[in-house]
């Protein structure tokens, strides 16, 4: 990825002086914008599973993230 250090620094910098709720909303907006740039919903669902699998160590990737809550 080009300008990786710039991007990383800008992500951190964007949160400066925001409280936790404001930070969360900023991230949420950014994620939706990025999801739109990715464009393909299947790809976004795969990335959500990837991010979830990498988190905390205790969380198993079950593939359920894209399945919704019904049924």
């Amino acid at each position: 990825m080009n300008r990786a250090d710039d991007v990383f620094a800008a992500l951190v910098e964007a949160h400066r002086e925001l409280d936790e709720a404001e930070s969360r909303r900023l991230d949420a907006r950014l994620i939706l914008l990025l999801a739109n740039e990715v464009g393909d919903g299947e790809r976004v669902l795969a990335l959500i599973r990837d991010a979830r699998a990498d988190g905390a160590g205790s969380v198993q990737s079950t593939g359920a993230a894209g399945k919704g809550e019904g049924g």
Partner: protein, 528 residues
């Protein structure tokens, strides 16, 4: 609280009449329907039109209090028109196709649910449930259906080849037997409770105020939904126009609201006043405070008992999927029972009720759960994403697709139905085996009016030809391959479609072959 409610209409009362059954001799009926709501009435009328005698029992003696189910979707209107109450609904209902979603006082987006011409029915009409029930009761009476009011089901007994039902009435109790029993007795189904069947799913913590308000207002006939409106900060609101200058208002109250307090006029009136402004006089017709649940029975059939509508599945109201889903249950089951009772069906036909309607219920539950989750986010992440979608949607069109104020009821596709014959050719357009037939103008009328209750074929040709020879008892309709009907059915010359008695597509081919039609009809009757 009663003093402040000013209903403008008195619901009809249907008298209890002593049935002959009270003499102690046990009668036998082909079908008993429990519950005279929209679903039970639709099922009873559909069966009667197909020549099946029905006993319909209801514990009450009148129609719905309050508007409740108000949005009749296009597919429901097509079904109810086939059952004979189309003219009444068209005369009374408020037509709408468009909706608007606001965030604060800004319009986020508008949508049109029926952007093309050439359909008998609009995307939706709004009408109070009591009118729907009244028209259906009148229709049921005119057909001679045995309606038994003030007749409460107290128990059922599985007889293997039938069901024994016990009822209580003001003149005493009695029992009768029937071949099939249809439980259409709503969310608090006595039939379901009697069988001790688990009704599992999710509860949503937020409470909602639902009110019918009578006023002269100039809002257009469209669905209006607000997130965080100035008149109801931090929560959501929904407005629908109904007949008789009555407006339906749904206000989100949050999880901590006290339902008894919130239903009191001194709490309700200021909320309505804030919404409609200081100058418009209004009266409160009906008010109720709800929490929403999404849940269903694991199976919709237990021996000779079928569950339909809210007795089988419950959804939150966003998307208008409760009543519309329930009436599709009735539409799906009635012809299958009639074919079975008439000896024309294989056992797989009745099994297909679950195969077709459980996925439909799951689709409704999924959509209404997601809408409710969007409106009532639980937890910081859910709230952050909801707020992000709303704030981005002002500047970015893509974000509007995330904004979920209710995904409105569409007909079940019945994809993968065991009754459908898979395609052996390519077709263009959204129609497919399992889908409900789409309407179009046809011979100075409407195509769906021709699909009036039996199996039917539609054959396209370049010029008016003689009707090809077709299987007995199956209606044959011929159409030119250049009209709007042909456009909607990819009707190149030779193309032939087979429709089931509930107007869903059973099969389609690029040429007409009586042997293939016969095999597809057999399959759609559960005989192969």
């Amino acid at each position: 609280m009663q003093a402040a409610l000013k209903p403008s209409r008195v619901n009809p009362v249907y008298p209890f009449r002593k049935p002959a059954d009270l003499d102690g001799r046990e009668r036998h009926y082909p079908v008993c329907v429990v519950g005279a709501g929209p679903v039970g009435l639709a099922a009873a009328i559909d069966l009667k039109l197909r020549g099946v005698d029905v006993v319909l029992v209801d514990e009450d003696d009148t129609v719905s209090a309050g508007s409740r189910l108000i949005c009749l979707a296009k597919r429901t209107l097509e079904i109810l028109a086939r059952l004979g109450v189309g003219p009444e609904l068209a005369a009374k209902g408020v037509v709408w196709n468009r909706g608007k979603v606001f965030h604060g006082d800004e319009l986020v987006y508008a949508f049109d649910l029926l952007p093309e011409e050439g359909h008998r029915w609009p995307a939706f009409i709004n009408i109070q449930q009591y009118y729907v029930e009244e028209y259906l009761v009148d229709r049921a009476r005119s057909l001679g259906i045995d309606l038994r009011w003030k007749t409460r089901l107290t128990g059922t007994e599985d007889l293997g080849d039938g069901v024994r039902a016990r009822v209580s009435t003001p003149a005493g109790g009695y029992s009768f037997t029937c071949e099939w029993l249809l439980a259409c007795d709503g969310v608090r189904s006595a039939v379901r409770d009697g069988l001790d069947l688990p009704f599992r799913g999710r509860s949503f913590p937020d409470r909602f105020l639902i009110a019918d308000v009578r006023m002269k207002a100039a809002f257009p006939a469209e669905r209006r939904f607000w997130f965080d409106p100035p008149f109801h900060a931090g929560r959501s609101a929904l407005l629908h126009k109904q007949p008789d200058d009555i407006w339906r208002i749904d206000l989100q109250l949050g999880p901590d609201a006290d339902p008894d307090e919130e239903a009191k006029p001194e709490r309700v009136l200021p909320r309505i006043r804030a919404m409609i402004g200081p100058d418009t006089p209004f009266d409160l017709e009906w008010v109720s405070v709800y929490t929403f649940r999404c849940r269903r029975l694991e199976r919709f059939r237990h021996g000779r008992i079928f569950f339909l509508g809210d007795a089988a599945h419950q959804v939150s109201p966003f998307g208008a999927r409760g009543g519309n889903g329930g009436i599709q249950d009735a539409d799906n089951l009635a012809w299958k029972l009639a074919e079975t009772i008439g000896g024309r069906a294989g056992p797989a036909l009745l099994d297909s009720y679950e195969a077709e309607r459980i996925p439909a219920a799951d689709e409704n539950i999924l959509n209404s759960s997601r809408s409710t989750d969007f409106m009532t986010p639980v937890g910081g992440a859910a709230e952050a994403f909801r707020d992000a979608a709303l704030s981005l949607s002002r500047r970015h069109a893509f974000a509007r697709s995330f904004v979920n104020s209710g995904r409105l009821s569409t007909p079940a596709l019945l994809a993968g139905s065991p009754l459908s014959t898979p395609d052996c050719a390519d077709f263009e357009g959204p129609m497919q085996p399992g889908a409900a037939a789409v309407d179009a103008p046809f011979d100075d009328g409407w195509w769906l009016d021709r699909l009036d209750g039996g199996f039917a074929l539609l054959h396209f040709s370049e010029r008016d030809e003689n009707t090809p020879k077709h299987p007995e008892g199956i209606a044959m309709h011929c159409a030119r391959s250049d009209g709007l009907l042909a456009a909607r059915y990819d009707g190149r010359p030779g193309t032939t479609w087979l429709f089931r008695p509930d107007q869903h597509v059973a099969a389609r081919w690029r040429s007409f072959d009586p042997a293939l039609v016969g095999a597809a009809v057999d399959r759609a009757r559960g005989r192969s």
